[in-house]
């Protein structure tokens, strides 16, 4: 199981990411609040901002320049900020944990 945890208002939502390309899609599919993914993953809308809390071993998804650019304009960015559309669902994603801005 590719299980990932979205922390929403302090509450863990444990979701199966299987069948999705990235964590924005997982969030949208499961009605996670604040995640709209309006542009579908083109990094043009800035509506899938999350804070990465922990990544499983072997999960490698570094921030790209375009993502850095968009993270400049999201609300309350931190070192942990990511666009969920840039977090791919791969074999090592199971156990990933992230927090949704509220």
């Amino acid at each position: 199981m590719k299980t990932v945890t979205f922390v929403v208002d302090g509450v863990d939502r444990v979701l199966d990411a299987t069948g999705h390309a990235n964590l924005m899609q997982v969030a949208v599919e499961n009605d996670i609040p604040t995640i709209e993914g309006e542009c579908g993953g083109d990094m043009t809308c800035g509506t899938c901002h999350v804070y990465l809390e922990s990544t499983p071993e072997g999960y490698d998804a570094p921030r790209g320049a375009d993502e850095e650019d968009m993270l400049e304009v999201v609300e309350a960015p931190t070192e942990a900020s990511r666009l969920a559309c840039q977090l791919p669902v791969d074999e090592s994603v199971g156990g990933l944990r992230l927090r949704v801005p509220t």
Partner: protein
């Protein structure tokens, strides 16, 4: 509409598209010939795609389907000459660029139009909407287009861009003439006298808008301000500043896209809501419907009907062989009524969900200003009907004559305040 010749003649006649009756033709094409070779009266023949899935196909692959002939079917289907291409912004305007150039120009802009940047503009947009409706309320008898629909984007976009107020109407006129060049009522006397063709006019008006915008860029490079002209002036690609031409065409895109599409969607949207008082009332009573109402207006109107692409290699769409170099026109106005995708596609329903219309395009070239346009309309529509529960037609709506723009030129109405 009896045979294919009639269909082709219609698809190449701008007058045919003034109104909503043209949808009957697309309903037939979707059912009988969804990838239709169109041999009408244009200089070039082209493929007409009428189904949602096929329109999505050409917008999803910007390499196989090039934008370099222009983003929309040009008037009379005439190709631009090399000199016209230059004046039209080919290679600089993001809608006339292909990957990888396109990405280099568009990526630095994305964050300035992202939802987190636009959402805080709500109070400013609300103030503008109130200003427009205060003026309209003082007169009661107004033109829905000139006094409301056109006012909104002019006041929002030209203020954000940093255009001096005394230049607003000049720039607005240039933009309307450029975008509605097939509509004889938009041309000035000099154009009529010179008997220019519609595409020549379009290029000339584009050049006027560009010259104005290039002036703004020069000014902001010397004296930056807090406006979008300054943002465009300072754009760079990996540390390399944009040329004045590239930065100028960014501003051109902002003016043309920002003014025309919104004006047209608002004019038709207000008319459709006026004609459905029960839905207008629901919109006022349930503010939560504002977002879905905007999406339905966008789907229903499809302010820009078509997308032109040129196949860069032999390929196949919907079982039809498409050859390299052929023009492929995606009629997204038809895609937005595709029975395969939308339930009750011919019903205007402000609560429609899901509503994955293609009015802002899709993929690489999707409309960069869509968050602004959505916010403008989301504020305007409920507020109009909150203030004026009854809006009465005082004449017939006059449609824009265009195979691309769907909107109104004029619609006299009487506003009745509560």
């Amino acid at each position: 509409m009896t045979d294919l010749l009639d269909i082709d003649r219609s698809l190449t006649t701008p007058d045919f598209f003034a109104g909503m009756e043209f949808h009957d033709l697309f309903t037939r094409l979707r059912a009988e010939d969804p990838v239709h070779w169109t041999e009408g009266t244009h200089d070039r023949n082209f493929w007409s795609l009428s189904r949602y899935a096929d329109c999505l196909t050409i917008m999803s692959d910007a390499t196989l389907f090039s934008n370099l002939a222009g983003p929309h079917l040009p008037p009379k289907g005439r190709e631009l000459t090399p000199e016209e291409h230059h004046r039209f912004g080919t290679g600089s305007h993001i809608l006339l660029s292909d990957p990888p150039d396109h990405g280099r120009k568009r990526r630095p802009m994305n964050k300035h139009f992202a939802v987190p940047v636009v959402t805080p503009m709500r109070p400013v947009f609300t103030e503008i909407v109130n200003e427009i409706l205060d003026e309209a309320a003082a007169r009661n008898d107004v033109d829905l287009v000139a006094d409301i629909a056109a006012q909104l984007p002019v006041k929002v976009i030209l203020r954000l861009l940093g255009v001096a107020e005394e230049d607003w109407s000049t720039l607005q006129n240039m933009a309307v003439r450029m975008m509605h060049s097939q509509d004889a009522t938009t041309h000035d006397a000099a154009y009529v006298e010179a008997q220019h063709d519609e595409l020549t006019a379009k290029v000339a008006y584009m050049d006027q808008v560009f010259q104005y915008c290039a002036g703004l860029i020069r000014d902001r490079r010397a004296t930056p301000r807090e406006d979008y002209a300054s943002i465009f002036a300072q754009l760079s690609d990996g540390g390399e500043p944009f040329s004045e031409r590239d930065a100028g065409f960014m501003a051109v895109g902002f003016v043309l896209g920002g003014l025309e599409g919104t004006r047209n969607a608002v004019s038709v949207g207000l008319m459709e809501l006026m004609n459905r008082p029960e839905q207008a009332r629901r919109l006022v009573d349930s503010p939560g419907l504002a977002k879905s109402a905007v999406e339905e207006v966008l789907r229903w109107t499809t302010p820009s009907k078509n997308r032109l692409r040129v196949a860069t290699a032999d390929t196949e769409i919907g079982g039809q062989k498409i050859r390299k170099g052929e023009w492929v026109v995606g009629w997204i106005t038809s895609a937005n009524r595709d029975e395969e995708v939308f339930e009750r596609p011919f019903e205007f329903d402000i609560a429609r969900s899901p509503n994955k219309h293609l009015s802002f395009g899709h993929g690489t070239h999707s409309c960069i200003g869509r968050a602004m346009a959505r916010l403008e309309m989301e504020i305007l529509f409920p507020e109009v009907f909150r203030r004026f529960p009854t809006i009465e037609a005082r004449g017939e709506p006059e449609w824009v004559v265009s195979d691309n723009a769907t909107g109104l030129n004029r619609f006299p109405v009487r506003l009745e305040a509560r």
